[in-house]
């Protein structure tokens, strides 16, 4: 009689799979995969789509609903008489849009311009503007419950703009709100 290969117990809800022996590398990997899969299939948790990006050494995020496009660096034309944070204007398929250095608004120093740099085309209502960032890291859903309120000790430029914080292996991510950024800019607070 041929015996069935060990398929492992069919685990139902609430039944934890056996912990692998630490020396069983394959078992550890399979366990990690199982845990990762459990996170993915947890579809009932409310999530928010976030565009995660880096300015200098700090990670930030913006709601995906407020980012119309992620654009590669393109020719930007300076406009005289603007605050230094305004990099200029660019053409987006026939529409002329402003481009601001987001780091200048947030008090975060940009890395030197590199090929990874990108422009987030922010959209709030009928207003659009490009925001230059150093690198886009990910576009991913984040479980709302994993967001914690912003700390009280955030420096002034960030204090009114950060709506939450969550952790990634690379460090904390400050979640921003595009509407607050646009409004603060137009009010002259940035």
């Amino acid at each position: 009689m041929v015996t069935e290969p060990e398929a492992g117990p069919v685990t139902g809800p609430g039944t934890a799979p056996p912990r692998p022996d630490p020396g069983d590398e394959l078992g550890v990997i399979l366990s990690q995969r199982r845990e990762g899969r459990q996170e993915i299939v947890n579809v009932d948790a409310a999530t928010i789509q976030l565009v995660i990006f880096v300015i200098g050494d700090q990670q930030f995020a913006l709601p995906g609903a407020q980012v119309a496009e992620i654009l590669p660096l393109a020719p930007i034309f300076p406009v005289p008489g603007c605050p230094p944070a305004v990099e200029g204007v660019m053409d987006v398929r026939g529409n002329i849009r402003s481009v601001l250095r987001l780091g200048d608004l947030l008090g975060a120093a940009h890395h030197p311009l590199a090929r990874h740099a990108a422009i987030l085309l922010g959209r709030v209502g009928d207003q659009e503007s490009g925001l230059r960032v150093d690198r886009v890291v990910d576009v991913t859903p984040v479980i709302l419950e994993s967001l914690i309120p912003p700390p009280d000790q955030l420096p002034p430029p960030l204090a009114g703009l950060v709506t939450g914080v969550f952790q990634r292996p690379e460090g904390p991510v400050l979640v921003l709100d595009m509407e607050r950024i646009f409004q603060a800019w137009q009010d002259g607070r940035l």
Binding site: A74, P75, F77, P78, V79, P80, G81, C82, P83, V86, V89, M90, D91, G94, N95, I96, R97, S98, L100, Q127, E128, S129, F182, W185, Q186, G188
Partner: protein, 170 residues
Amino acid sequence: MKAPGAPATPAASREVSAAVGTASGLDLVLFHWGPWQLAVPASQVTGLGPDTDPEAPTVGDLLELPAATSDGGPNPPSLSRIRRLGLRRPGPGLGLRVQEPLRRVRLDAMAIQPLPPLIAARLRLPLVRALANLGDPAGAIILILDFRGCEKTSFIPGFATPPARDQSSP
């Protein structure tokens, strides 16, 4: 290029006057200053002449742009000749030094766009009124200037009326 202020034939004059300022498009005089491509509505141009007064204001002075040189500046020397552009505005006219090449173009109304709101909210120079994409070179954006309010917004010694003093300030 024909000088924008040069006398035109009656027929041509009628044609231009009908075209300028209509909703379908706008006649513009294009010029340069360093790497910037600039334009002014042709209706505000009164003439084009040689650069005879090196002390006259440049468009760079008005827009606080870096100096553009005719020898090794941002443009090749052949593109950097300075001309004097006569401009109509409230009060005395303005002779503005600009860089060649100059040309007159007609832009479709759809090609002319307002300043993006985040720029309009913080711009210190009301002279900059609109933007347009000429499509040459690829994607190049020009700044459209409007000198109708120049008297109030800019003070150039000898060329503009000094701004009125704020009576409430000490």
